[in-house]
Symmetry: C2
Subunit: 345 residues, 2 copies
DNA sequence: CTGTTAGCGCCTTCAT
DNA sequence: ATGAAGGCGCTAACAG
């Protein structure tokens, strides 16, 4: 696969116009100290000759790639793809490019991906951690080189890494309190790896609400899975086997909540009369399922935009990153029919 | 933002080991003609010194970036994020990296993105076209340089560009026939820009089925929007205003079908008794909505895998791309309650 | 405003 | 099995 005819370089343009390559370079990059007329002729020649700037060479020389790296657990989840879409928009609008990889929820792949990102000399990194990541040594090489690393949603405490997330504890506390206010006393919580702040915090908000209401927290009421659709079905099976049926389920994401709910309905359980339901994320499915699902609205798009903008501002004007150590975005409880028992029973 | 201490290069390793940089380079890239012992000491020194290979420099020298570019209309759609996840998996497994950008359904951004991809010298490109793309001149510079361009799902006919898609005409023909078999005689079709094969072909399948059954095709029964959730709601309003209510709706995607269906239900329309419904894509929402949506199963993940593998095989072993000009993947009709009228009425 | 020079870090001949 | 030398294409000094 030879690349056909030789690439046109700035030297070719320089030769044709009888000027130096440096001037061509300046003309092409809108350098201020180049006359209008020469710039015009440079651009014209470049166009005619089919010149395409070689970012690789430029990156090597300038030690700047204009590339942002993103590592997320998965690309095909509603939340993550929203987040990435937000990132892409901001990154693209600022003439940066985007390297993307997914860890598939394993630390091992996260480490590999981080390595590739560093080798490609990304100017900055946005990371949302995998389920089983226990430490973040794999990001140290970035920090050593002053390449900013920002954690988004699934964060990690580190002095040099800004974090962007929502107040998961508070959101879970509120949603649990809502269930309690609706008369629920025996609430199951479906969640995933407690290594991740998002799940650990939601669990602690759930606990806090129970304790404050004088309800007993039971270890056995917490079902840890991977919050997939299948996990919801499995949880439903587990619930159906319980001696005493719970009166509510609070899942740490909507996907799992919805599949669990549907599975229970198939077995004759009425929602919310028998079991009230709440999820997390405000997934598109939340307002399709019947009854509509009570959840926490917390769209990834905005979070992606904010994270990317923070990173790019820092890259462009050296704005201080350490100053914004953690950025806690707003989330809101959305109450829908799946949890409204009081009026029904 | 200085990058802290100077980068460790192969020269630093060479100096420390009193060997040449060339040998270090060979050692690092598993070149066969380097002794076991020197390679070992090179790897050890590299590790100790915190050396990280600079892909940028390597790319410049070798004229190969090990990067695949992807341009899709949007990142945050269930289908596209599935597709990208499939691409990422294959690309990652083959030690390539992924550049991703979204056109947001405009040709203008698609052109800009393509430019950036070329400047960054991607080794190959996967493209799914925007709604309003009228020509593909913006990919000519790739072809001129023998950089392979593969179209996925939303394709374009071009002698040098392989295409990967499904038989949209056939799928739409089958689904329309199914609706007709259920007794529907006045079927609305919701779709988007007919510049795109996926929508043009689905429309022609729909037409073909009507004609073969002796039903009249009416221009006014085709509603062209952007197939968004909002488009579904708008279509519902339009349908409700019709003199004579249709007896079926076939939407070119599930998102739009679902939102249209729910909106109609809010106005007392019974599905499928009053209006039968069918969508396209087998979106996660299709089996959450009540009644479950009849649709065409056609997951993006596999399509992404196939496309990426085809591209990478070509890149690695120069396998002939032209040979596989178009690859038509399987799709299947999935019949669910939203279209089962015959047994009900 | 423009030219000269040098080198970013690596790989790849060619030579030994 | 290893070394020496050159250059990928561009840009950042430094001159003028």
């Amino acid at each position: 696969m030879d690349k056909g005819q030789k690439e046109v370089t700035i030297y070719d343009i320089a030769e044709k116009l009888h000027i130096s390559a440096a001037t061509v370079s300046r003309g092409l990059t809108n350098h201020p100290r180049v006359s209008k007329s020469t710039r015009k002729s440079i651009l014209k020649a470049a166009e005619e000759m089919g010149y395409r700037s070689n970012s690789i060479a430029s990156n090597l020389r300038s030690k700047k790639s204009n590339v942002i790296g993103v590592i997320v657990p998965r690309l095909n989840s509603s939340f993550m793809s929203d987040l990435i879409a937000g990132v892409e928009k901001v990154v693209n609008n600022n003439n940066y490019s985007l390297f993307i990889s997914q860890s598939l929820e394993t630390m091992q792949k996260e480490v590999t991906n981080a390595r590739a990102m560093l080798n490609n000399r990304v100017d900055g990194l946005l990371v949302s951690l995998a389920y089983d990541t226990t430490n973040i040594e794999h990001f140290e090489p970035f920090l050593k080189r002053n390449i900013p690393v920002i954690f988004v949603d699934r964060v990690f405490e580190h002095a040099s890494c800004p974090q962007i997330f929502i107040d998961n504890t508070k959101a879970a506390y509120e949603i649990t309190n809502h269930l309690i206010a609706e008369g629920c006393k025996n609430i199951i919580h479906l969640t995933a790896s407690l290594l991740r702040n998002v799940y650990a915090d939601r669990l602690s908000g759930y606990k806090k609400a129970l304790e404050e209401s004088g309800l007993q927290f039971r270890e056995s009421n917490v079902i840890i899975g991977d919050l997939s659709s299948q996990a919801g079905i499995d949880a439903a099976a587990q619930i159906l086997k319980m001696e005493k049926l719970p009166d509510a389920v609070f899942a740490a994401n909507d996907i799992c909540a919805v599949s669990c709910m549907i599975e229970l309905q198939k077995h004759g359980i009425r929602i919310p009369e028998d079991i009230a339901f709440a999820g997390f994320n405000n997934d598109p499915t939340a307002c399709v399922v019947q009854p509509n699902l009570t959840t926490v609205n917390y769209k990834g798009y905005e979070m992606g935009e904010v994270a990317a903008q923070l990173l790019i501002n820092h890259l462009i004007d050296k704005s201080d990153l350490q100053q914004t150590h953690s950025l806690i975005l707003r989330s809101e409880l959305i109450i829908r029919e799946s949890s409204l028992r009081s009026k029904k029973s």
